[in-house]
């Protein structure tokens, strides 16, 4: 501990360079150790539950079996099978198409709702609760609900369609409608979450900038484009990455509603991984698809990080 004589003047209190270096070094060491102490538990969890499984996944891509029976080294066979398997390609295409439909749709709807809620000065809580309720529904419950909404025979929508003189729409049984329908259901489930996320972002924006813009004569649209969107960049950054990760892992609603059908039109990568691992016992193939999914998510996250980086 450095002792400072209270009788010293300001100039005399200046630390020598050597002492400054020593103290700075000690400070850095202490803050580094504190940081590691806080990061430690998360680091352990990261290594045990993510790094080791991913490495093990990579190992499994070069083997077959290993869960119920013995493992066998097969070289690059699983990789060849994965890239030549038509259903793997279909599942990747379906997942990408689904994400391309669901993510922009849910963001646009959620942003409109968040702006509307932000404009309500009082009494928005019940609306926020109502909007968030679908997010709380498990996929199986949502599937059950949408059975009564979409069913060609007794579904609410088709009841209305028939009442208007139209033919019933086979939402989940039509190969061209099934995937958009699943995307619609997921948008319904996700809208509440993203609305709250964007609303939180909007609430945190500095009000004085808007007042200034208003005084300068900027209209609502101009304020939204010139102020809101740029200021919400950190929120969008999180939203895009998180939504990409979640949607590329589409599984539960497909599993509950269509099981990949009709005619494989809703098979997602995660569903195909599940089938390969648990239904067909094809561990190496499933591991390869899983590893590809992990890498794809990492690459897309990296790309989004690059594109959405804060350009100064």
């Amino acid at each position: 501990m450095t002792h400072i004589d209270p009788g010293l003047t300001g100039a005399q209190m200046t630390l020598s360079p050597e002492e400054h270096r020593r103290l700075a070094k000690r400070y850095r060491r202490r803050t580094t150790l504190t940081a590691y102490a806080f990061l430690g538990p998360n680091l352990v969890a990261f290594v045990v539950f993510l790094l080791i499984p991913v490495v093990w996944l990579l190992v499994s891509t070069f083997r077959t079996g290993g869960v119920l029976g013995p493992a066998e080294f097969v070289g690059l066979d699983n990789w060849r099978d994965t890239f030549s398997d038509p259903l793997a390609r279909t599942s990747i295409r379906n997942t990408v198409v689904y994400s391309a439909m669901a993510i922009p749709a849910v963001f646009i709807i959620a942003m409109i709702l968040a702006l509307a809620l932000h404009a309500i000065p009082r009494g928005g809580a019940p609306i926020r609760v109502a909007l968030y309720l679908p997010t709380l529904q498990p996929a199986v419950v949502a599937a059950f609900i949408f059975t009564f909404v979409l069913h060609p025979d007794f579904g609410v929508i088709n009841y209305a369609v028939r009442w208007l003189g139209g033919d019933p729409i086979n939402f989940l049984g039509d190969t061209t409608l099934a995937l958009p329908t699943i995307a619609g259901i997921e948008v319904w489930r996700g809208t509440g979450f993203w609305t709250m996320m964007f609303l939180a972002g909007l609430t945190a924006l500095p009000g004085e900038l808007y007042h200034a813009a208003e005084l300068d004569g900027a209209g609502a649209i101009r304020r939204f484009i010139r102020l809101t969107l740029p200021l919400l960049r950190p929120t969008f950054y999180f939203a895009v990455i998180f939504a990409t990760i979640v949607n590329l892992q589409l599984f539960d609603s497909v599993f509950a509603l269509t099981d990949g059908g009709p005619v494989n039109s809703t098979v997602s990568v995660s569903l195909y991984i599940y089938r390969s691992l648990f239904l067909f016992g094809d561990i190496g193939f499933g591991a390869t698809l899983s590893f590809l999914l992990v890498v794809t998510v990492l690459l897309l996250t990296g790309l989004q990080t690059y594109l959405l980086r804060d350009s100064k």
Binding site: F62, P70, F73, P152, D153, T175, G260, G261, P262
Partner: protein, 471 residues
């Protein structure tokens, strides 16, 4: 600035070195894994299938009329003790209660000191559940497995080869009471993987009232053409003439199989090395199925699930419906306001078969109480127990000695058991059967939507099936 750049380059270089090391380690571990793991799960040497002297000898008497009568083999063995697990898929909402009865009888008559822990798996995900249980290393000692999935588990060495147990001379009489075709389904890959106990027949339900009103009751099932004509005649704004499952999620192949079997085809060839969907009769059968699904006599393809189809039938809105016998219980308990009965699909050019699949009771290789497990299986498979259970859930039995007294108060089940079970042609219990059906079924779904001819559908299915067999 340059320092920052060099640091970034350094970090980037380190990152690549770390990735390279991880990749190298992964490759080395993968290469070494072959040897490392060869001892921890190898398939046991397969003994020879039991000798022909133990083949069943046919009918040997009626079912025990009093379900409390001890099974012939139920000799008290007080030395048995411990706990065994038993897992089964539900065939009824009362599954637990029905099995508790069997377990109570087991404790009263066979092994009072053995505790049986019963649990159920969910049919839609039962393969995943069982895989996880086997992978855990401590699966339930006894499993009820259907012929669609057990071969894959047997191939991977997680089931105990029961050849010696089922050929025990002390159990020869009981073994002989089980139909030979059922043993054929349980004996594969050079081993015996369980004791056949139950079967599910995939029958047709018909609305007799509607068919009678249309004057078609005696002729609708003369041929495929007459069935299609009947379906067209019965279809109205409110009623669909015909219904069958169409999605893999509903195991729709059960309704497709009889037409293919009646045409002399099957998923695999006789030696299971290639696609068995060959010949003009198979193409014609497929074309008929496409025609009936595109004739406007069914609910929109893919619009109604398994339960929904049955509910429509029960509501009088489907006249001819492919489904399965456990729904006979539902119709008996809640009689619809029309007359109904069960039937088989019309005969085809090469046969008049009925589809059915069967369940066996197996012992896990990892079980540490195989003796108690075997005693429990013998008890479960005994005439009083399996007979009572079959009646409770409306499933078929594979024992030949209890047929006379079975389903005395259930005419529909009597008809199924006496007229359809003898015509059953089951599936080929190959380890690849479920993967082949899953791979090929989307082609059928596509064809049922009118997008393929019968010939194109069969070609597409064979391409998928051969792809699975090629590995």
């Amino acid at each position: 600035m340059s320092s920052s750049n060099s640091n970034r380059q350094l970090s980037s270089g380190r990152l690549w070195r770390v990735i390279a090391v991880i990749l190298a380690c992964a490759l080395v571990a993968a290469a070494c894994g072959n040897d490392d793991d060869s001892s921890d799960g190898s398939v046991p040497a397969a003994p020879e299938v039991g000798d022909s002297s133990s083949e069943p000898t046919g009918d040997s008497g009626g079912m025990a009329e009093d379900s409390s009568t001890p099974a012939p083999t139920a000799e008290p063995e007080p030395e048995l003790s411990g706990t065994i697990g038993f897992i089964k898929g539900p065939h009824s909402a009362m599954e637990v209660e029905f099995n508790d009865q069997i377990i109570a009888d087991f404790n009263a008559q066979v092994a009072p000191d053995v505790e049986v822990e019963f649990s159920t798996y969910d049919w839609p995900v039962h393969v995943a559940e069982l895989t996880t249980l086997f992978a855990s290393g401590s699966p339930p000692d006894v499993q009820y497995l259907v012929d669609l999935i057990y071969p894959a588990f047997a191939e991977q060495g997680v089931l105990h080869d029961m050849t010696d147990l089922v050929n025990d001379p002390d159990w020869a009489e009981e073994r002989a009471n089980i139909s030979p075709f059922a043993w054929d389904l349980a004996e594969q890959q050079g081993g015996t993987w369980g004791v056949p106990v139950l079967g599910a027949v995939y029958n047709i339900f018909i609305n007799e009232t509607l068919l009678e009103e249309a004057g078609l009751l005696d002729s609708w099932d003369d041929s495929y053409e007459s069935m299609l004509a009947a379906a067209e005649a019965l279809t109205t704004d409110e009623v669909f003439g015909f219904g069958a499952r169409t999605s893999a999620a509903d195991f729709a192949w059960w309704d497709w199989y009889p037409y293919i079997h009646n045409a002399g085809g099957d998923v695999f060839s006789d030696d299971w090395t290639e696609c068995g969907l060959v010949g003009q009769d198979v193409v014609d059968a497929m074309q008929f199925l496409i025609d009936i699904h595109t004739a406007g006599v069914t609910p929109a393809i893919g619009s109604v699930d398994n339960q929904g189809l049955f509910d429509l039938f029960a509501a009088g809105r489907i006249a001819i419906l492919h489904h399965e016998t456990p729904n006979i219980v539902a119709l008996n308990e809640n009689p619809p306001d029309f007359e109904w009965t069960v039937a088989a699909a019309p005969p085809g050019p090469q046969g008049h078969t009925v589809m059915g699949n069967f369940g066996i009771l197996s012992i896990a290789e990892a079980s540490d109480n195989k003796e108690a497990a075997w005693e429990f299986i013998k008890h479960w498979a005994s005439a009083p127990q399996v007979g009572r259970f079959a009646e409770q859930v409306s499933l078929q039995v594979v024992r030949t000695d209890i047929l006379d007294d079975l389903f005395a108060d259930n005419p529909a089940m009597q008809k199924v058991q006496s007229e359809m079970v003898p015509r059953v042609q089951g599936l080929q219990p190959s380890p690849h059967i479920i993967e082949a059906l899953q791979a090929a079924w989307p082609v059928v779904e596509d064809a049922f939507r009118g997008n393929r001819t019968g010939e194109e559908a069969i070609a597409g299915m064979c391409e998928a099936i051969d792809g699975v067999l090629a590995g």
